[in-house]
């Protein structure tokens, strides 16, 4: 059962545009209590910190119990879509999916398996898909092997964020020019 969700998401053609997408999964051991991680995972607004392709994620008012989110990606041109939290089981899993009207199909699930009181195994899977004819350039640039690798790196950054609260980076640090023109 533990493998099913992540494997299903990455293998199965579940979306209307399923031939033109990317999927990635990752298993992490996070050095934090499951309750802390679950609390964070319930709110998608942290995703732009760890996922470089997302510009913004904001919660929007919803009528029912499910949470609604508006996401904006920076895949060459801005793409917006709405997603809802489709499943929340306390300290066990959170799943979210794009709404039916969206031009981007997205499905993600994050599951938690406590290893001890301070350590949690986290399994994450995400799938994106778009219409190839309409979004050809985006598909070729991002929905490729490199795009999948980038998505996997996004999931690695999630561990850094969950454990330390920030993402390791050297962007913006000084360096020399060795005689080349400064840019």
């Amino acid at each position: 059962m533990m493998e099913d969700n992540a494997q299903r998401i990455t293998d199965e053609t579940v979306s209307p545009y399923d031939q033109y997408g990317m999927a990635a999964k990752r298993t992490l051991t996070v050095n934090r209590n499951v309750a802390d991680i679950y609390k964070l995972a319930c709110h998608l607004d942290y995703l732009p910190i760890v996922m470089l392709h997302l510009d913004t994620v904001v919660e929007i008012p919803s009528i029912g119990r499910e949470k609604l989110w508006k996401l904006c990606a920076n895949w060459g041109c801005p793409l917006n879509w709405d997603a809802s939290t489709v499943e929340e089981v306390t300290n066990t899993k959170v799943a979210w999916a794009s709404t039916k009207e969206s031009e981007v199909y997205m499905y993600g699930i994050i599951e938690f398996f406590p290893k001890s009181s301070t350590r949690t195994e986290v399994r994450i899977a995400m799938r994106y898909a778009v219409k190839r004819r309409k979004f050809g350039e985006i598909f070729d640039k991002y929905f490729s092997h490199d795009g999948v690798a980038q998505l996997k790196e996004d999931l690695r950054r999630l561990k850094q964020f969950l454990e330390t609260g920030e993402i390791a980076t050297i962007d913006g640090q000084p360096r020399g020019f060795c005689g080349r023109l400064a840019t």
């Binding site: 051991t29 050095n31 350590r119 690798a149 996997k152 790196e153 690695r156 561990k159 850094q160 454990e163 330390t164 609260g165 920030e166 993402i167 390791a168 980076t169 050297i170 962007d171 913006g172 640090q173 000084p174 360096r175 020399g176 020019f177 060795c178 005689g179 080349r180």
Partner: protein, 390 residues
């Protein structure tokens, strides 16, 4: 600010570059008061380390004063005098919590690249190639230190910079190398290489209970230091017929219980196999110089321990692994978990058990770094440890 930048093989330049800034909330900015040039820097300087890019600021050993802290820094304050460990630790992952700071899960922003080569990425290091993070190093006037609450180790004003700087890398490396030997009363420990790491491996081996330490090198000045300051019995491998036989005679025919290779990638050699190593290295057929490692394994007593503080890179062949297997050797290795050892080693310094300044032989200003690198590369005179003062 001024900074020492790598500009190609055997070329460094001191350039004026922007000052570092706070990038993440847990960062601190340190004004450097002293930095060192080590064997690892020499490997970078000579172009042996892939993923080093022109313009990279070098320096993995440095100390100074905190001049700015990010909003997430809780225990370090502006004005604190600190030594910074060479390996960068987050303090929150399972490895950091176990004291294995050099294996940190989170500090390397290029972990994906390291993972492709190593299987799993360890910690990032200051000033030591992009495979290990690409962080700007401390041979500069200012440095940005991530996760400052963990990585900025506060030190007292009562001890001079030269007796504290080596807490950043060499002392922890040497101490961990000796600790990894599992020294028991009566043991003999042999140390190959009498550079700064070897010098302190000798002293730390005695601190940890070795009855005798035998030091092996070819440089007379280094051997003299090992004998006079470290108290080691010395062997000049260029003046004996066979180092292994010499060690056999000195240890009642059994060999040393523990052997430390304090040379790593820098190994020289005076016999045909060393020539072979050099040719292969030149042709890039092999990235290591395994001559010393082979001798270390061959020399070790059956059932003994080989301690490898590094540094190493790439694959190596011509290593007598069959010998290691048939003698039931334990091989212990790894980059030093510097942050773990800084507090106890400071205690040793305060009590006078260790006097790190004794190995510092050459002092330069930051502007003279190119001269300093060439001096160390050629090992002219009595050059053993070089420091730079901005």
């Amino acid at each position: 600010m001024k900074a020492v930048c790598w500009c190609g093989a055997n070329k460094v330049q001191v350039e004026t570059v922007p000052d570092p800034t706070i990038i993440n909330p847990q960062d601190a900015i340190i004004q450097v008061t002293l930095s060192g040039i080590g064997g690892a820097d020499l490997q970078l300087y000579e172009g042996h380390i892939p993923s080093t890019e022109k313009g990279d600021i070098l320096g993995h050993e440095f100390m100074g004063t905190v001049v700015e802290v990010g909003t997430g820094v809780k225990s370090v304050r502006v004005g604190d005098r600190v030594v910074i460990p060479s390996s960068i630790a987050c303090g929150k992952c399972e490895f950091c919590e176990e004291g294995k700071f050099a294996l940190c899960d989170n500090s390397n922003p290029n972990a994906a690249a390291a993972e492709k080569i190593y299987g799993y990425s360890g910690a990032a290091f200051f000033g030591y190639s992009h495979l290990l993070g690409g962080y700007a190093g401390g041979q500069a006037e200012y440095v940005r230190v991530p996760y400052a609450d963990v990585n900025a180790f506060r030190v007292p004003l009562s001890i001079g910079d030269e007796n504290l700087l080596l807490l950043s890398d060499i002392l922890p490396t040497s101490y961990m190398a000796a600790e990894n030997c599992g020294i028991r009363p009566g043991d003999t420990v042999a140390v190959w290489g009498c550079g700064p790491t070897g010098q302190f491996a000798i002293q730390c081996a005695y601190l940890l209970g070795a009855e005798r330490v035998i030091a092996i090198d070819r440089c007379p000045d280094r051997l003299r230091m090992a004998e006079e300051i470290g108290g080691a019995h010395v062997i000049n491998y260029e003046k004996v017929e066979n180092t292994l036989e010499e060690l056999r005679e000195l240890t009642g025919g059994s060999g040393p219980e523990a052997c430390i290779d304090a040379i790593g990638m820098e190994a020289h050699g005076s016999v045909l196999d060393a020539w072979y190593d050099r040719v292969k290295q030149t042709l890039r057929l092999e990235r290591e110089k395994p001559n010393v490692l082979a001798h270390v394994i061959q020399s070790c007593k059956k059932g003994g321990t080989v301690s490898l503080p590094g540094i190493y890179g790439g694959f190596i062949n011509c290593v007598p692994f069959e010998s290691a297997f048939n003698k039931g050797l334990t091989l212990k290795m790894g980059a030093a978990h510097a942050r773990k050892y800084m507090e106890p080693l400071l205690g040793h310094i305060e009590r006078g058990d260790l006097i790190p300044a004794e190995v510092i032989t050459d002092r330069f200003t930051l502007e003279d770094a190119p001269v300093a690198y060439e001096l160390l590369r050629k090992k002219e005179g009595e050059c053993i440890k070089v420091v730079l003062r901005p």
